[in-house]
């Protein structure tokens, strides 16, 4: 039982649960913005699994394995870029659909 309470395992399990929550949000939530947030929760869960792996890999002189930690940093930046692109698309879409209502059929002329 104590083994489960070690951070290297506990946060791994937490990450696993977050993955489930994130997946549920991104798949079932009707709001597109919330789907993006769901993706972020999914990502957070995944990074926690990496963190748990890193923590388990503590060695002499190191509290944790630096490699997964570095991967997480890279991953966070990539995930943020993805969110930013998704949000930009979403905002553009909202603008376009509003415009469409104002001037219908303008967008249908070309291919």
């Amino acid at each position: 039982m104590m083994a489960v309470l070690q951070p290297g395992v506990l946060f791994g399990l937490c990450g696993a649960a977050l993955v489930g929550i994130g997946l549920f949000a991104v798949i079932t939530h009707p709001g597109l913005l919330r789907r993006i947030v769901g993706c972020n929760i999914l990502g957070a869960g995944i990074f926690l699994v990496f963190g748990a792996v890193a923590r388990r890999g503590a060695g002499p002189g190191f509290d944790a394995d630096p490699v997964p930690q570095a991967l997480v940093i890279t991953g966070i930046v990539v995930a943020f870029s993805a969110s930013a692109l998704a949000v930009a698309l979403l905002k553009r879409l909202a603008e376009l659909t509003v415009d469409d209502r104002a001037a219908p059929d303008e967008s249908r002329s070309g291919l």
Binding site: L23, V26, I27, T28
Partner: protein, 543 residues
């Protein structure tokens, strides 16, 4: 490389090169003039090249050409018909702006159909078969009428299906062979020992039956042949259907025999022969009647091959080729004749009708014509049992069908004003008609092993005459049947397929509905999760 080999290669490549030259617009504008010479190397090869096999190009691209007796007989006849029909087409289409397009399809079909008679390896056989099959589409739809288009669509659909059957059959045939592109001869020799023998044979028969127009895969034939321009009808009905015949000749194991599949071929062939006559006799259009006659004759060829397969008699291939070349030339001449008669009037009309009548009755086996020769040469195969009777009856049926054809021709030409056909249409017709008479006569001794003088024996004459009389009598009765003409629509059972259209549409709509469902975000997401769980679960259970 011997000069014989080069000539044989020229038979294949000359028309192909001409087709490729059409990429140049300047050449394209004049291409009609060369369609008549395109098959000439093949004709020369059929006459001059001795039997043998020739290999070209190094290993991965190796092309093997084979000239044997059945191949040479068919190649010669086909080349002659292609050339004559080409001359006819060149004259007919001189003013047609779409003629270059027609000529390109013509050259491609020609390359494929002639090549099939001489190719000796599996891959190139399939390649040429495909070429002949698909390029014929261009000939069928050339006139762009609604009926031509419908015929073309149905033709391509069935041709693609045939391709699929043939492909899997070829793959099953050569899967175990170490060579990537084996010789047809060697893989067919291994076939009887193959564990997939029956499946392979069944697929071959289906694939080639489709091309020959055997029941129930014949539906495209009575639609496509009449829809094409006259010279194209002549080669389609004369030569292109023979692709199926040469396929069966090449790929069925006549050495070892396969009684089960022999019986199947005999059964299918007889049904085709009779149904061709029965449906054909209800048709009001001359070209459609000819198409049904082609179907009926292909049935007879299938019976011939079936007998050979049943009795393990390799000699049947020669006889089949002989019968096929007779039909090829006669049918070609008849189709051209329909075109000639449409433009002929007055005194010449009677002469032309007479010649047409001789050609037509030749299919029923009129004495001294190629039909009689073909029937006499193949007669020994059937023995004296029920099969011989059935074949005789089929001959009678052919006579009746041809009488029906002649009656239609007389009706159609009754109102013709005096006139004469263009010389360059008349001449090819006469050449083919003459060849239909001469070639079978000259080949008879070699093929049947009997002397020509035996043909003039009264007994032999009677043997072929009485079925004709029977057919004529039958026609007398049939002629009186009310509402006979048009009782069965062109393409007969295709009507059933059209009745199934709503079902197909519903099926397709169902697929569309499922697709729309799967493309909903939550559904796709759930499927994603479910797949991960499934795969993970299975992998975990195993771990």
């Amino acid at each position: 490389m011997s000069s014989a080999g080069l000539l044989l290669a020229a038979a294949l490549f000359f028309p192909l090169v001409l087709a490729i030259c059409c990429l140049s617009a300047r050449f394209r504008a004049r291409v009609l003039a060369v369609v008549v010479i395109a098959p000439l190397p093949a004709l020369a090869a059929a006459v001059l090249v001795p039997e043998g096999r020739f290999a070209f190009f190094p290993a991965p691209f190796r092309l093997t050409l084979v000239l044997d007796q059945p191949g040479a007989i068919l190649l010669g006849g086909a080349a002659l018909l292609w050339s004559a029909a080409g001359a006819y087409a060149a004259s007919l289409m001189a003013r047609d702006p779409a003629a270059p397009r027609f000529a390109i399809w013509w050259l491609l079909t020609l390359t494929g159909s002639l090549g099939l008679f001489i190719v000796g390896d599996v891959v190139n056989f399939y390649l040429l078969f495909t070429l002949a099959s698909l390029a014929a589409y261009g000939l069928i739809v050339h006139e762009q009428s609604a009926s031509a288009h419908r015929a073309g669509v149905i033709y391509v659909g069935l041709a693609l299906l045939g391709e699929a059957f043939l492909l899997i059959a070829l793959v099953m045939l050569s899967a175990m062979h170490p060579d990537a592109n084996p010789q047809i001869r060697s893989v067919v020799a291994e076939l009887p020992a193959s564990p997939m023998r029956d499946g392979t044979l069944a697929l071959f028969i289906i694939g080639f039956a489709l091309k020959m127009g055997l029941v129930p895969l014949h539906v495209w034939l009575p639609l496509a042949h009449p829809a094409a321009p006259t010279p194209a009808s002549a080669v389609l009905s004369g030569v292109v259907v023979k692709a199926g015949v040469i396929g069966l000749i090449r790929f069925l194991p006549f050495e070892a025999g396969a009684p089960l599949w022999g019986s199947v071929l005999i059964g299918v062939g007889l049904v085709t022969a009779y149904s061709g006559v029965i449906v054909g006799i209800t048709q009001p259009r001359a070209k459609t009647v000819l198409a049904y006659s082609t179907m009926s004759q292909m049935g007879l060829l299938a019976v011939l091959l079936g007998v050979g397969l049943d009795t393990a008699d390799p000699a049947v291939t020669n006889l089949t080729a002989y019968y096929a070349v007779h039909h090829m030339l006669v049918k070609g001449a008849l189709f051209l004749g329909v075109g000639i008669l449409a433009t002929t009037g007055g005194r010449r009309l009677r002469l032309a009708l007479l010649l047409t009548a001789v050609l037509a009755l030749s299919l029923g086996g009129m004495p001294l014509t190629s039909g009689a020769l073909a029937k006499l040469a193949t007669k020994p195969l059937f023995g004296y049992g029920w099969l011989a009777g059935a074949m005789t009856l089929a001959g009678a049926g052919s006579t009746a069908l041809m009488l029906h054809f002649l009656l239609i021709l007389r009706r159609d030409t009754a109102g013709n004003t005096a006139g004469s056909p263009a010389l360059w249409q008349l001449l090819p017709w006469l050449v083919v008609a003459a060849a239909a008479f001469l070639i079978p006569w000259s080949l008879y001794p070699a093929v049947s092993g009997e002397t020509v003088s035996g043909l003039l024996h009264p007994e032999a004459l009677w043997k072929v005459t009485w079925p004709m009389l029977l057919g004529a009598v039958a026609m007398l009765f049939v002629h009186r049947l009310p509402q006979r003409l048009g009782a069965i629509p062109e393409g007969d059972i295709i009507v059933l397929a059209q009745a199934a259209q709503p079902v197909a549409r519903r099926f397709s709509d169902r697929i569309g509905g499922i697709d729309a469902h799967f493309r909903r975000w939550p559904v796709a997401g759930f499927v994603l999760i479910a797949l991960a769980i499934l795969l993970g679960g299975v992998l975990m259970l195993q771990a």
